[in-house]
């Protein structure tokens, strides 16, 4: 499934981030393949907010659709 399909409050594990530039940036944020995060919030047709510890990151919907995750 993709990050865009996660539901609010769901715990997920990041499987793959295809775009290399985004992937590198995400590693710096602390989110790389294998990392467990929470889908903290989902705006209707808008960004998905993922939380890892106290870190909250908003991810645009189109980008979220390209990020592969699985329930954790």
């Amino acid at each position: 499934m993709t990050l865009a399909q996660a539901t609010r409050g769901q715990r997920i594990e990041v499987v793959a981030i295809p775009d290399p530039a985004v992937r590198a940036q995400a590693i710096r944020f602390g989110i790389s393949a294998g990392e467990r995060v929470e889908c903290a919030e989902k705006l209707p047709a808008g960004p998905v907010i993922i939380a890892k510890g106290r870190q909250e990151i908003a991810v645009g919907r189109r980008l979220a659709e390209s990020i592969e995750v699985r329930p954790a």
């Binding site: 530039a21 590198a24 710096r28 903290a40």
Partner: protein
């Protein structure tokens, strides 16, 4: 901007060390810079406040503030700027946020890996405490191999300690495998920081050494991430989960159901404070009672002793557009109170951490005009000053987004002084006029964005933004910022206003003003259905739009005429200072297009509104 020589314009005395403040966005670097140098650079609660290098003296050394970055490489302009400053550094002060060590230590380890002398300021210890996070600074120091000083920058805690320990800054612990690779690379690339960047696949730095970048960036990053997680596992202990009211409020700001009303409320509060309280009550006093009632008669009387008011010199000084009368009244009596009011409100917003949440809330809307939510930050700053905001477009991810944002800023975003006048005039007309005005401007903004989005090649980047915790704005910072920005406004606006007033008076004395007014009559009178005299306002508006808007305030116009003229002056050309920055940031072609496009848009839209309403 390729900033190979960013440092070249900074005068660094011989023997002075270059101390560079480096850290993730929004961790307090600029607070440290201000504390070290006694200067004031902008401090706000959103990632990307600093987009340029600031420099100041600290003892015999030079201290540099850099834009916040998540790592040193060449992902965007800010990183390139910061990277080159780091490469030239003698000593790095790495500011980290104790609440977000998982994120921040990534950069720390990268800095340590460069082999430069590093000292870490473990900042935001107060926030860590209230959120129930305990960080073992001694252990962190031991694991990194560089000094770690706990601080609360905004309260000045730990600053003396940091200053005292600066000389202890030293190269930290680099893993043996990496050391080996670095030694290899340093045979071709002498400097260790550059060697690291080449290894990590930084194309620009590799290019400078005639090398091609290796494709192993991710291996290095993954390995570093592993080290970070390991260190964090050892030094951070969560005592309680301290997510309180601020965290909940932060969520409400994001959800459309609550976020939209919150935004509406904030806009209304802004409108009320600026459009009603300041524009009517305060300005009523400063402009009419103080300036026109007391100051102007006094200065007229004084000048009258030397020259008659009808003489050329008298007209220039105290005539209708006099340098000592109208100009001073506009600047001090009308615009200054508005600008101060605006910056107060903006500073509170900037300091609270609301802007990144607003960016998330409006992301979907911004997508429609080829931007992502991040662009809301330059837009909101544009309501303060379009000149500053144009520079802030550097936080956007692609050139195409920067072009769109700059065009929208130059065209449709009125700056504080202008918006203050506009809000004041609209407030007197009633809600339906406010609605029409806002509707027209938003429509044009959308149209321009949409058109650019469809004609510009390439793709826009997606939103990926860090949401900082909400904070109660600090009075001191809000005040300092307001004063600094208002002063900057005075300094920028005053000479241009003088110039404008002088120009108009010369045109008036020579009779050219009437010729121009007659010449422009088909436009003003025919197209816009406004009195011929409004031509004067547009000439003023070419110098600065707020000058033009101020001129409108003095004219006797009916409600519909007021609306038309306000629409035109809003869409009119960006002020001279903004134009210069646009040219510098976006180049001659784009700058010229934006300027000419503003003429077209202003008169075309004004004409349409006029023909419907009047």
């Amino acid at each position: 901007m390729h900033c190979h020589n960013c440092l070249s314009h900074i005068n660094i005395p011989a023997g002075a060390k270059k101390i560079v403040l480096v850290g993730n966005p929004n961790v307090g670097k600029s607070v440290f810079f201000n504390a070290f140098t006694g200067m004031y650079v902008d401090v706000s609660n959103f990632p990307g406040t600093t987009v340029d290098i600031s420099h100041g003296r600290y003892g015999g050394d030079v201290i540099l503030d850099t834009p916040g970055i998540y790592g040193i490489s060449s992902f965007n302009d800010e990183e390139r700027v910061a990277r080159d400053v780091v490469l030239a550094a003698d000593l790095v002060v790495n500011v980290v946020d104790a609440v977000h060590l998982e994120r921040d230590l990534f950069l720390t380890l990268q800095l340590v890996d460069t082999g430069l002398p590093v000292i870490v300021a473990l900042n935001m210890m107060d926030e860590a405490k209230t959120r129930g996070i305990a960080v073992d600074a001694d252990l962190l120091e031991h694991l990194l191999g560089v000094p770690v000083v706990p601080t609360v920058a905004v309260k000045g805690q730990g600053l003396d300690d940091l200053k005292a320990r600066l000389p202890e800054a030293r190269p930290g612990i680099v893993p043996p495998e990496l050391q080996k690779e670095l030694r290899e690379m340093m045979r071709t690339v002498a400097a260790s920081p550059e060697a690291l960047l080449v290894l990590e696949g930084d194309e620009e730095v590799a290019g400078r050494h005639g090398l091609s970048a290796g494709g192993r960036r991710e291996d290095f990053y993954q390995e570093r991430r592993r080290r970070v997680n390991d260190i964090v596992g050892h030094v951070v202990r969560e005592v309680t989960d301290g997510a309180g009211f601020a965290a909940r409020l932060g969520r409400w700001m994001l959800r459309p159901l609550t976020g939209v009303p919150i935004f509406a409320l904030i806009l209304y509060a802004m409108y009320y404070i600026i459009g009603v309280l300041v524009a009517q009550d305060i300005v009523g006093f400063t402009e009419e009672t103080l300036m026109q009632g007391l100051y102007e008669p006094a200065v007229r009387g004084f000048v009258g002793r030397f020259a008659s008011e009808e003489s050329v010199i008298g007209t220039i000084l105290v005539g209708e557009f006099g340098l000592l009368t109208m100009t001073v009244t506009y600047i001090l009596g009308l615009l200054l109170p508005l600008v101060v009011g605006f910056y107060l409100v903006l500073s509170v917003m900037e300091d609270s951490g609301y802007l990144p949440r607003l960016a998330t809330l409006v992301d979907r809307l911004m997508n429609a005009i080829g931007l992502n939510g991040r662009a809301v930050i330059p837009m909101i700053l544009g309501f303060g000053c379009v000149t500053m905001a144009t520079i802030t477009t550097r936080i956007l991810g692609s050139q195409r987004e920067r072009t769109i944002a700059t065009a929208v800023l130059g065209l449709a975003i009125p700056c504080s002084a202008q918006l203050g006048v506009i809000a004041g005039m609209l407030a007197g007309l009633g809600p339906e006029y406010i609605a029409i005005y806002t509707g027209v401007i938003v429509l044009i903004l959308g149209l321009v964005g949409k058109v650019l989005h469809s004609v510009l090649p390439g793709e826009s980047t997606d939103l990926l933004i860090d949401l900082p915790p909400l904070r109660l704005p600090r009075g001191e910072n809000v005040l300092k910022k307001t004063v600094t920005k208002s002063y900057a406004f005075l300094r920028e606006a005053a000479p241009l206003f003088m110039l404008g007033a002088l120009l108009i008076t010369v045109l008036q004395v020579t009779g050219l003003l009437e010729v121009i007014q007659d010449g422009l009559a088909p436009l003003t009178n025919g197209l816009l259905k406004l009195p011929r005299e409004t031509a004067t306002v547009f000439i003023m508006g070419m110098i600065r739009r707020d000058f033009g808007a101020a001129g409108l305030e003095d004219m006797a116009l009916g409600p519909a005429e007021t609306l038309v003229s306000l629409t035109v002056i809003t869409l009119f050309v960006p002020c001279i200072a903004a134009l210069i920055v646009i040219l510098k940031e976006r180049g001659l072609k784009e700058g010229a297009l934006i300027w000419l496009g503003s003429w077209l848009a202003a008169f075309a839209v004004g004409g349409i509104v006029a023909h419907i309403l009047i």
